[in-house]
């Protein structure tokens, strides 16, 4: 992969922060946007803008075509049919849609949903709510020493009363990767479905829903080089067809009478109201962009860089790296500097032009387990290079030196 050429695709990477070169290491929170995406959104507004699925005039047909083309692009990205892609605002809305429209139907007293303590709040609260509304149980799979969820641990909690297994593909804190194919096998053996939080996987590695046996997959546009406010839910066709809409209104109906109404087929029945058309165009362009580079190449690049980063900071006395201590399988590296609060570390790095996330990363249960109120996280993407990492490592060493000096 030619990183210099990739970097040139992202206008924001050229800005300076505090007079320093920018080292953006927070792509797990949100990614930067390539020109291809910005241009696609602009082109849509300048040439094709109209409402979708409504007008009979040509412009409306063009807007509808753009919107449906974007659905096809996402289907191509995850290996599904276009009818299996529902546009949403992002991962959070996608998971809530499954939890309400599917979860609240199949859960009942005596049944359970299996998830883990390592989940992002977005993949925890919707399941807790659905289970509590229906009097069902929420079960948590045990995390291994390094934060991994092993098939054996999963097997020991999933049973014939399990209706849904809901897990993140890649943890946004530990950077650990769950064996999704094995999880699907275990869930299916007990008649349950597997709902995957793909927020940190779809942007960074090949994800093929058929090959992996995924039944629901949620992801966000803004973490995969696309715009904010758009994302998608992949749902297996037969499951989506059984699900009721959550939002009722325009666009999603077949026939409306004062006595009763019928809905469009999936996925359109889940897209009540005028959708985020420009956002869909943007996420579609992002999917094309990622595929043009190749998701395997993106993944390999990030993993190589993450291991380089972890190997460089581990020897610094006082640095704790969470998650796998050996080889890392994703671009997420969470760490702490002994005696210095993660916020103070992040502020110190900021003065050197380095952006990292500090806090609980929307994973309070996991943080309790790590016995860290707060951690700092560096996360990598296709546009990061060794210079970004070296700048970070130098800034971290400087921060350590500074805090030890002022703390006397």
């Amino acid at each position: 992969m030619n990183i210099a050429a990739r970097r040139a695709d992202f206008p924001l990477l050229a800005i300076q922060m505090n007079g320093k070169r920018l080292s953006y290491l927070d792509s797990a929170a949100t990614s930067q946007k390539p020109r291809a995406v910005l241009d696609a959104v602009r082109r849509y507004y300048e040439h094709d803008n109209a409402n979708v699925h409504r007008g009979v005039y040509e412009l409306a047909a063009r807007a509808t075509q753009d919107y449906e083309d974007a659905r096809q692009k996402l289907a191509d990205l995850v290996g599904s049919a276009p009818e299996e892609i529902v546009f949403t605002r992002g991962t959070t809305e996608s998971i809530n849609l499954v939890a309400r429209s599917y979860g609240e139907v199949v859960l009942e007293p005596g049944t359970n949903v299996v998830t883990s303590a390592a989940e992002h709040h977005s993949n925890l609260l919707p399941w807790q709510q659905a289970a509590w509304h229906r009097g069902a149980e929420v079960r948590y799979v045990e995390l291994g020493e390094d934060g991994r969820i092993t098939p054996d641990a999963l097997r020991s909690v999933v049973d014939d009363q399990t209706r849904i297994v809901a897990l993140a593909h890649v943890s946004n804190v530990m950077g650990t990767v769950t064996d999704v194919a094995a999880a699907a096998e275990i869930a299916h053996a007990h008649g349950a479905v597997l709902a995957v939080d793909g927020a940190q996987s779809v942007p960074h590695r090949p994800v093929d829903v058929r090959a992996l046996g995924i039944d629901f997959l949620s992801f966000s546009g803004h973490k995969m080089c696309g715009p904010t406010g758009i994302g998608a839910l992949y749902g297996r066709a037969d499951l989506l067809q059984r699900m009721e809409p959550v939002y009722y209104g325009g666009e999603m109906i077949e026939e409306v009478t004062l006595q009763g109404s019928t809905w469009k087929e999936a996925p359109w029945r889940f897209e009540g109201g005028t959708p985020n058309i420009a956002g869909a165009v943007g996420i579609g362009a992002a999917a094309d962009y990622l595929r043009s580079i190749g998701l395997t190449a993106i993944h390999d690049h990030e993993v190589e860089l993450a291991n380089y980063l972890a190997d460089r900071i581990r020897p610094i006395a006082g640095v704790v790296v969470y998650g796998p201590q050996g080889h890392r399988d994703s671009g997420v590296v969470t760490f702490n500097l002994d005696g210095v609060h993660a916020h103070d570390v992040a502020t110190a790095l900021d003065t050197e032009g380095v952006c990292v996330r500090a806090g609980h990363h929307c994973c309070q249960p996991l943080m309790r387990r790590l016995q860290a109120a707060s951690t700092a996280r560096a996360s990598l993407y296709l546009y990061n290079n060794r210079e970004d990492v070296d700048q970070f490592v130098d800034a971290l060493a400087k921060a350590k030196e500074f805090f030890h000096r002022v703390a006397g």
Binding site: N18, H341, D344, T351, Q364, M367, A373, S374, F403
Partner: protein, 151 residues
Amino acid sequence: MSLDEVYREVIMDHYQNPRHHGHLEQPTLSVGLHNPTCGDELRLDLQVSDDGVVQDAVFEGQGCSISMAAASMFTEAVRGKSLGEANRIAESFKDLLMRRESDRSILGELEALEGVAKFPARVKCATLVMNAFEKAIRKMSEGGGSGNVQA
């Protein structure tokens, strides 16, 4: 923008040796605050006399150097002051960090936190203790002004 402007020695000193750390057995006012975006936690206990003077102020919690140093400095600053004066200290401190006109003369060591104004994302760390204090005062006025108020 340099780190020395923010992390003055006096701040790190308060962080490492918090002045009034702990809790009171029978506080007049006790309020806990949690900053959900970063996970910082703080509990502020106040002993207030019948005529409205802060006789004791202590805090407990965990968080970054800025939130903990501010709590230490604030408890130091409000001891022996009336609730009205304590409130003015909190207000002046917020003014300072929002770069508005501020009465620095009443801030004491809190003034050393001025550099935080350059890091807008960290202002909420510095003002966590003031928010706890203001919440305690609101609770007290709602609760009629006496007794142990838990929030």
